[in-house]
Symmetry: C2
């Protein structure tokens, strides 16, 4: 028995080991058929004795969660294996993984504060325009109300998007634009088209946490490059290209999530030169484009949609309930992407595209965004000030957007703060869910539009005092 | 030089070889990084000389479509390689592959007849109910109009679906139901959850052609089992289980697509016993459920959602423009499926679920479906009669649904008929797009709701006369 076992009692540890395995299966870290770690290796990882791991594996076999293949080891059973799920809901005990913030933010009710979530409160969204769009949609001709979308999707919307992309310097014809069910589905479709299981993909560190979850679903190898206030660290980027020969780089260059940093022209130019030399493809997730006061450089604009593909959506600016995103891709990709889109979603957005088009086609959208940008700027200043008072300091002063990437006072564990805050109905976004390297545990992302409730600034200081590392 | 080359001229053949490779890349038969056949093997396949293949490969390298790795062979370049695409539209020259019918049916305009498509004409859909639902949606509270859906999706709709599934003998609690963007996306999500690249999946022969395309996107090995008027051929099914040890079986058991056959209780029972012995998981695609007059047995009902998962959607009965489907799954799967859904689509249907719920919650849906079933029954009889007059005979007399699976007169090549019909603006569904074994080229699927135009019965006989095999 290890010291731990003497302290905690082996039953507790045994349950801990079993829970860890169940969670890895539920979180798809271990997929059906995957081999479990050897008894010895897992005993070391968990810092328990081998006999504890043996017992845990045997009980999980009895439960049908894993299978034992004599001589070969232990394997995750087909997902028929009951993962003993109670009710879906925010689970206080869930470990902080890439999906942690998504789950908490999507699951929790309206009483909950969500400074950690990635979208605006309903009261900030263009409610009137949406209601108007729904009323006018009720007068569409029957085919628009009942038919599948065309393979590329709603042509007038694609024409409008082509013009809007042009305003950001991205030259795309409407036939280079494919409508998708969402921005996430756009990236998912591109991953299917561009990478195979085992391919290496570069992400920023920190980056949008769902990139980690999505790439895991594609069984990709992920490497990350530190992000600076003007873009990725180019020296490190070049090293990664040389060492790992990645096929793909996924980034937000408009307003970077979570840092709200913007790409500088020189970094954009050099990054593209590196990508060209290495034959690297780039997915530029530009869903925050319309939050900018003055557009920063876009990789897709510099590159002319040759090796850079751009994606966008309307979830952050119009509605996350009306599902519609898009891909602006090199001409040569369209045929293959459309086949893949039909195979995996068949229709694509149809009514949703009609609704988005109705909201974008007149001047009301520009007015809405102007008001939104001003409101966010005010909120950004206020939130930065209030966070400063409790010792939480912004990494940079963002030019625009909704996110403040902040450093916590020294020695505070962001994950622990997030866990404890959830018990008080506050959903936070701790740094390491954004960091592949796991180096951002002293950071936290705040969505300023979700930080207006005074309760946040009462509860946070108290919780932080309980979370000093090595306390 | 081969005889062919002397006849056709090597330039023509060279272009043919290059076109074949481009098409395999566009169709994802060859995915990025995939190794091309050896010069010798491909020369045999194409029945051309090795020098022609060498020349073709070299030109494609020059174009950047493929790459040469000295000593290792030729490989598909990253999809940056231009596939020289003109404009997306129905292409008369496209080979009849699993996506052929989808592409033609989704792409073509209203002037085109679509007996080959898989959905009802707009005039058959509940237009008034959709307009009413849109108007009432315009009065929803802001969060319903702007927020992402919850991880499982719209609870009242899930409760309603649980009751409706119960009416078909499928016992599922609302917490075992996950809303998805569509029926196709539901199956896609399940494939991601249940299979890994290289896993073997069983499908019916014939089966819904998009299963082939979807499984190709998942890099699965497909084996097929002949379908009989009462379900899959159990003897063959048992052989396949023994020989190929598949992980998954995907089928429509309610009304089978394309045959409109229904599962008999004894076949359902025996099939499940075989599945249990082999540890096989089954995805039961039940999107045609509401077209039945009297419900046939459901695998999910017999099984009690242990190894059978059921999916459904409203694209065929309410609207294909309002994207919403669902999964009814074993409890133990929900947690993992939800994580995967968030990773790959984030939100899931939100407004779409509100609209579907508005249309399902009152009695109007049942009235609509009653009328639809009667109209389809009449149309089924008329179409069968008119097809009979031109020598096209139904395989079975379906109890319900929209599909007639028909045998063409002896010696007629269905793919050729479909190709020629497209030139006359008629989209047909030739048998082999449904057949993994490629044994259905004498068959064709007719959607009776799309066969009311007399032009079809004038044009078809003329075309069939041109398409006698070996003419």
């Amino acid at each position: 028995m290890t010291v731990q076992e003497l302290e905690l009692g082996s039953e507790t540890l045994l349950e801990g080991v079993m829970a860890t395995i169940r969670q890895r299966i539920a979180g798809r870290v271990l997929t059906p058929g995957a081999k479990l770690p050897s008894i010895r290796a897992f005993a070391n990882t968990m810092r328990v004795s081998k006999s504890t791991v043996v017992e845990a594996y045997e009980r999980l076999v009895a439960e049908g969660v894993i299978r034992s293949k004599p001589g070969a080891g232990f394997f995750v059973a087909a997902p028929l294996a009951p993962l003993s799920l109670a009710e879906i809901g925010p689970r206080l005990d869930r470990a902080v993984d890439p999906l942690w913030v998504s789950r908490q933010a999507l699951e929790t009710g309206d009483s909950v504060l969500k400074p950690g979530c990635g979208w605006l409160p309903p009261s900030w969204m263009p409610e009137t325009a949406i209601r108007r769009a729904l009323k006018s949609a009720s007068k569409l001709e029957a085919s628009g109300l009942t038919d599948y979308g065309t393979p590329l999707g709603h042509r007038p919307l694609r024409q409008l998007l082509a013009r809007r992309l042009g305003e950001h310097g991205v030259e795309a014809s409407p036939d280079q634009i494919i409508l998708t069910e969402s921005g996430t589905q756009a990236i998912d479709l591109l991953c299917r088209f561009l990478i195979e299981p085992g391919d290496t993909v570069v992400v920023d560190d920190p980056c949008y946490f769902n990139f980690h979850a999505l790439l895991r679903a594609h069984r990709a190898e992920v490497v990350s490059v530190p992000y600076t206030p003007s873009g990725p660290d180019l020296e490190k980027f070049a090293e990664v290209l040389a060492t790992h020969r990645p096929r793909l780089y996924i980034t937000n260059s408009g307003l970077h999530n979570p840092t709200s940093a913007t790409l500088s022209p020189v970094v954009a130019h050099r990054l593209l030169k590196l990508a060209e030399q290495a034959g690297l493809t780039i997915v530029e997730d530009d869903i925050f484009a319309d939050f900018e006061h003055t557009p920063a450089p876009r990789l897709a604009a510099f590159d002319g949609l040759e090796r850079v593909v751009q994606i966008g959506s309307f979830s952050k600016t119009l509605s996350a309930s009306i599902r519609c995103g898009f891909i602006a891709a090199p001409r040569g990709w369209i045929e293959g992407l459309v086949d893949l889109k039909i195979a995996t979603t068949f229709g694509g957005p149809s009514l949703a595209a009609e609704l988005v088009f109705a909201m974008l086609k007149d001047g009301s959208y520009r007015k809405h965004m102007e008001a939104l940008r001003e409101r966010l700027a005010r909120s950004m200043n206020e939130t930065a000030a209030r966070l400063g008072e409790i010792g939480i300091t912004p990494w940079i002063e963002p030019q625009a957007g909704m996110f403040l990437w902040c450093r916590l006072p020294d020695g505070i564990d962001a994950a622990e703060v997030a866990q404890k805050s959830l018990q008080q109905e506050i959903v936070l976004a701790p740094g390491n869910v954004f960091s592949h390297a796991g180096t951002a545990n002293g950071f936290m992302r705040f969505n300023v539009s979700q930080c207006e409730d005074a309760r946040l600034f009462k509860v946070l200081p108290a919780i932080m005092r309980q979370c000093v590392v090595g306390r």
